[in-house]
Amino acid sequence: MKQRKRILLGLFLVVFSIGMIYFLNDEGPTRILVNLMTFAGIYSISAIGLNIHFGWTGMLNFGHAAFMGIGAYTTILLIPHAAGREGSINEEGLPLFIAIIIGLVASALFGLLVGLPAIRLRGDYLAIVTIASSEIFRLVVRDQENLTGGVYGVISFSDIFQNIRPKFLEDLALNLDVSAGQLWVATVSWLMVILLILILKRLQNSPWGRALRAVREDEDAVRALGKNAVWLKLQSFMLGASIAGLSGILLAFNYGTLQVEYFVPLLTFYIWAIMILGGVGAISGPIFGSILFWAFISETDQIAALIFENADGQQIAGVRFMLVGLLIIGLMILRPSGIMGKKEELLLDVK
């Protein structure tokens, strides 16, 4: 399939699924749409990071949630916040921008920390080590209640972010009858997506991007040609991790609270589903993948409500996750190149 055809297919699916949102929801479809697009923006940032790990470099990273979490916790704990059971407020804090930079660096460093032992391992071992690292991260955050608020989480940190919200968004939010706070998160997220896409477009066919793809194809050949495959992989690990960190920070601002349970392995699997749906290795894949994924999730909730007349929240969530599982299986079997992926560069069919 030609590039243009793939884009048309992607656009058609996006328009269709957004149309479905309006069709299925009589009340406040715009509010649902803004909510959906916020998550889609945030998750596509994360999927862009994962795409660098897996799509470009071929590394099976199943600990992506932790990279998101490290970024979120580092940044949020550095700005004014309230953590823990008592929720004692910490008024002191760094300026937001500096805290975000430190958060991104922290994610990159965690990527390096996980990468160093894992990088020499074969694919499936790397998968196990990364998912284990992400669980270690989650368990430690849960455990260190004094610092991270443990299971009680962190609250009251959004002001510093919402205070810089431009005025015109408030009028827009009022007009659309949606939350101005969320509209701001959505705006920032999508601006970030655009920025990242521009950067990645430049990187993909650059010598560095080419070197990453060569590592993905055959590490031995890379080494035989005098290039340091381990360092390239570590760089990829750090870049992808810090992009994930950015997504984690935005996720925290979107929820307005920071809970350790956001960063369960299921989050990683979501990002994987988005990456595969969009097309592994394709730069614009995460955008399409993410919007469609969230539209799919939103619509399955309606379907679940239809199937189970007296459904409670648990059951609706259950149906949604089951369908996510089916989506992953179905994509892998029927269309492993996703929407935007090139068949010729399909990563999942060999070896």
């Binding site: 071992y125 669980e135 849960r142 089951m322």
Partner: protein, 305 residues
Amino acid sequence: MLDQLGNGLLLGIIISVASVALSLLYGVTRIVNFAHGEIIALGAIMASFFSNLPTSRYIFLENTSPLGLSFEISLFLSILICGLFGAVLELFVFRPLRRNEFGNIAVLVITIGISIFLRHLYLIFASSKPQNYPLDLQRREQYFIFDLTPRNAKIIVYGILIMVLFGLFISLTKIGKQMRAVRDSTELANISGINSDRIILYTWILSSMLAGTAGIFQGMINDVRWNMGFLILLLVFAGTVLGGIGTSFGAMIGGFVIGIVVQVSVALPFMEGHTEAKNAIALAIMILILLVRPQGIFGKKERIS
């Protein structure tokens, strides 16, 4: 510390049985099965469905009640169902994938999809509330140096028995030998007249039955939950990797060590008040082992990088 040693032995047995199953499957089919945890949970949930009283009604939506069978029969039926389920997975999912030459990564991702699907299927049908088997409460007694209830002591004995039987099966019977042959080289096995498809089917059945057994043990010691399999899966991976993935004996020992480490670490001075993080210790050990001895403690030196 000694209190914890008994608990450690119990958890060790469970992880050990589950690790042996995972390792066997990996050895023969090269599948890293993320859905292994859900097969573990299937055993536990089925046993709960068969054995709980119809009046208890806390499982399986409003219109399906538990059957109230005797626990021994429930146990037997559940393990059988797990085996059957393994066969279904092989026949309807993994054999077709093999025929179409799906790569290892693709299959791994598919097992993740299956895991997510099944886990939430359990959530819907087996409810989110933890459940228990209809077994009497028992008082702890002293066995040798361990403090255990008689039932838990029995679990340890049965667990060891199962693994001895498994060891004998894999090393003495014809099917066991053929499994090892396929594990070493599918092509060679095919050339020497072994029907590798059939052996892989048997492997799925055996692996799933062992996993189900581990799940029932886990359900007896703690409780039955929809997500219990996923909670224990990483520890099972740790046990498998520690012993050397693909070696049954290694997985057996590795699983034991992980179980004991997890429970005994609670008694360590620096872990005081941090019992929730005990699994992190086991996972960290796994990563360390991979760092210094990537093939695991008992694994043969094979290229893993």
